[in-house]
């Protein structure tokens, strides 16, 4: 049995004046401990798919199963990281990282300790009493990662979590997130529109195309790249090849006369 099974998802958004189909005929599987990326131009339903997997939206048709069970938000098995940190500005860093535990009513001593350990692992010492706006963008996104990991989700979903950061911070965070997830053996899905990031971080890349969103093609990242850190992947010679082939596919989806 697959760890995560996404079976024939269709989703349509209804408004008074229109019915827009965001996703059609999406099926894929993710194995435990695997890192998968959803890549594609904007408007191809990537974020919708994440919301469906997280159980935030009910798909019009289709089924998502995590370890054979239908997903729902109640079980706390899925962690979700957004484009921006969305730390609560009126809460201290400590209150922020314990938010998930508080919501699920599991503020136990060892879990609190786990959250604090994670924070230290992310290279953030003695920031607990501070407020989010006293930290830099990269630090805040690390705190957001701690908040997501503190509830020990089985599946982690990253919705363009590095897109709001400057390039250097982004590279550093890619390494940190990749290493952290690998060391915990976490399964993760990353949504991105950055080809390099998708290659550097994942085991497999799904390329989505719009109108309505569906899987265009799937790429296996070569073994020699998978074992490297994201930073070193970008410098490997095999990186350029896979980059080129994904780039060509993307070009074929997006009409060139757009610019």
């Amino acid at each position: 049995m697959e760890f995560l099974k996404i079976d024939d998802i269709h989703h349509t958004y209804f408004t008074k004046t229109s019915a827009v189909t965001a996703l059609s005929d999406v099926s894929l599987d993710v194995a435990e401990g695997e890192f998968v990326s959803f890549l594609g131009p904007s408007g191809c339903g990537k974020t919708t798919l994440l919301s469906i997997i997280a159980g935030l939206i009910k798909p019009t048709e289709g089924l998502v199963e995590l370890e054979g069970k239908k997903v729902g938000t109640k079980d706390n098995e899925i962690g979700y990281m957004l484009q921006q940190d969305y730390l609560f500005p009126w809460k201290t860093i400590e209150e922020n990282i314990l938010l998930g535990l508080k919501i699920s009513g599991s503020l136990e001593k060892d879990k609190i300790q786990y959250a604090h350990d994670l924070l230290e692992k992310m290279g953030l010492q003695s920031v607990e009493p501070l407020y989010p706006k006293q930290l830099s963008g990269g630090m805040r996104q690390r705190v957001a990662l701690v908040r997501t990991l503190a509830t020990e989700p089985k599946l982690l979903m990253l919705d363009e979590p590095f897109s709001a950061l400057d390039y250097q911070t982004k590279l550093n965070l890619e390494n940190l997130v990749s290493n952290t997830l690998k060391s915990f053996g976490k399964t993760a899905i990353l949504v991105t529109h950055d080809i390099g990031e998708a290659i550097a971080m994942s085991d497999r890349v799904y390329l989505f195309s719009p109108g309505p969103g569906h899987i265009h093609k799937m790429f296996h990242i070569p073994k020699e790249l998978r074992d490297l850190t994201p930073f070193h992947t970008r410098n490997h010679e095999a990186y350029t090849d896979i980059f080129q082939s994904i780039w060509k596919e993307l070009e074929s989806i997006e009409p060139e006369d757009k610019y």
């Binding site: 935030l56 979700y80 969305y86 609560f88 500005p89 919501i103």
Partner: protein, 268 residues
């Protein structure tokens, strides 16, 4: 001279200039105060203005002393102040509760929307006579005036701010399996505190309007009664005294709200 001591020196100069500016601001504020009251006194004594209508600071002061000594001032003052504070708290609390209810049930908010618009555009003080007939010419109806004048606008403003909370904060809580109540408590309410505080500031003024009008209509004591009584017997010293006391009390209430603001909004 080393660079470090130079920086310290410049910093001291900077602080010094800040303090100097602050002193000048205080000086001019005090000067305006003196000019107004001295001008008022002189104009009244020299009959530039009619002393019967505009009174004079010295007369107001003497009346204040008399009223403090015979204890009648304290009676009026505490009566009006308790009405205003009660009306203010009731109006704000009810308004916020109503806003929470509307947020809780979007269906209800759709139903009530036109009624809110009507109630908001209506001049609330016009309801005064009805309130007095319904609740009796008493403390209760005056408090009700103080509350009713602010409750609808509080509801509308606070509800709008509830709805404008960034949906991504709600998404964060939903991914943790948060219930609607938890979403309200952890995201909606705290992120609306700045708006609630600013409605508190507006409501201070509104409650005073409601209470003073209420007292015009029914009371046999209170600061509003002092004004209407002074007007009827043509004792404008009494009117002026009441006005000045109201100004002081309303300012104090405003300051208290600012204190609450500092306590509540820690991250600013």
């Amino acid at each position: 001279m080393s660079l470090k001591t130079n920086t310290e020196l410049l910093h001291q100069q900077f602080i010094h200039s800040l303090n100097r500016e602050k002193r000048w601001v205080r000086f001019y504020q005090f000067l305006i105060f003196i000019v107004i009251f001295a001008g008022w006194e002189i104009a009244s004594r020299l009959q530039w203005i009619d002393p019967l209508i505009f009174s004079a600071p010295s007369k107001v002061w003497n009346l204040l002393i008399v009223k403090i000594q015979d204890g009648s001032l304290w009676l009026d003052l505490s009566f009006t102040l308790s009405e205003t504070v009660l009306g203010f708290i009731l109006g704000t609390l009810l308004g916020t509760l109503l806003a929470a209810l509307l947020w809780w049930s979007p269906f209800l908010s759709k139903i009530l929307d036109p009624y809110l618009v009507i109630l908001n555009s209506m001049p609330k003080v016009a309801l005064g006579p009805i309130l007095i007939v319904a609740l009796g010419p008493s403390f209760t109806s005056i408090v009700a005036m103080g509350a009713i004048i602010s409750v609808i606008i509080t509801t509308i403003v606070v509800y709008t701010s509830f709805r404008e909370v960034d949906p991504n904060y709600i998404k964060v809580l939903q991914t943790f399996g948060g219930t609607r109540y938890q979403i309200f408590k952890e995201a909606i309410l705290p992120s609306s505190f700045p708006v609630i505080i600013s409605t508190l500031k507006v409501n201070v003024g509104l409650s005073w309007v409601g209470v003073i009008v209420g007292e015009f209509l029914v009371a046999s004591k209170g600061l509003g009664y002092m004004i209407i009584y002074g007007f009827q017997v043509f004792n404008f010293t009494l009117v002026m005294l009441s006005l000045l006391i109201i100004a002081v009390l309303a300012t104090i209430m405003y300051q208290v709200v600012e204190l609450i603001e500092k306590k509540l909004i820690k991250n600013n």
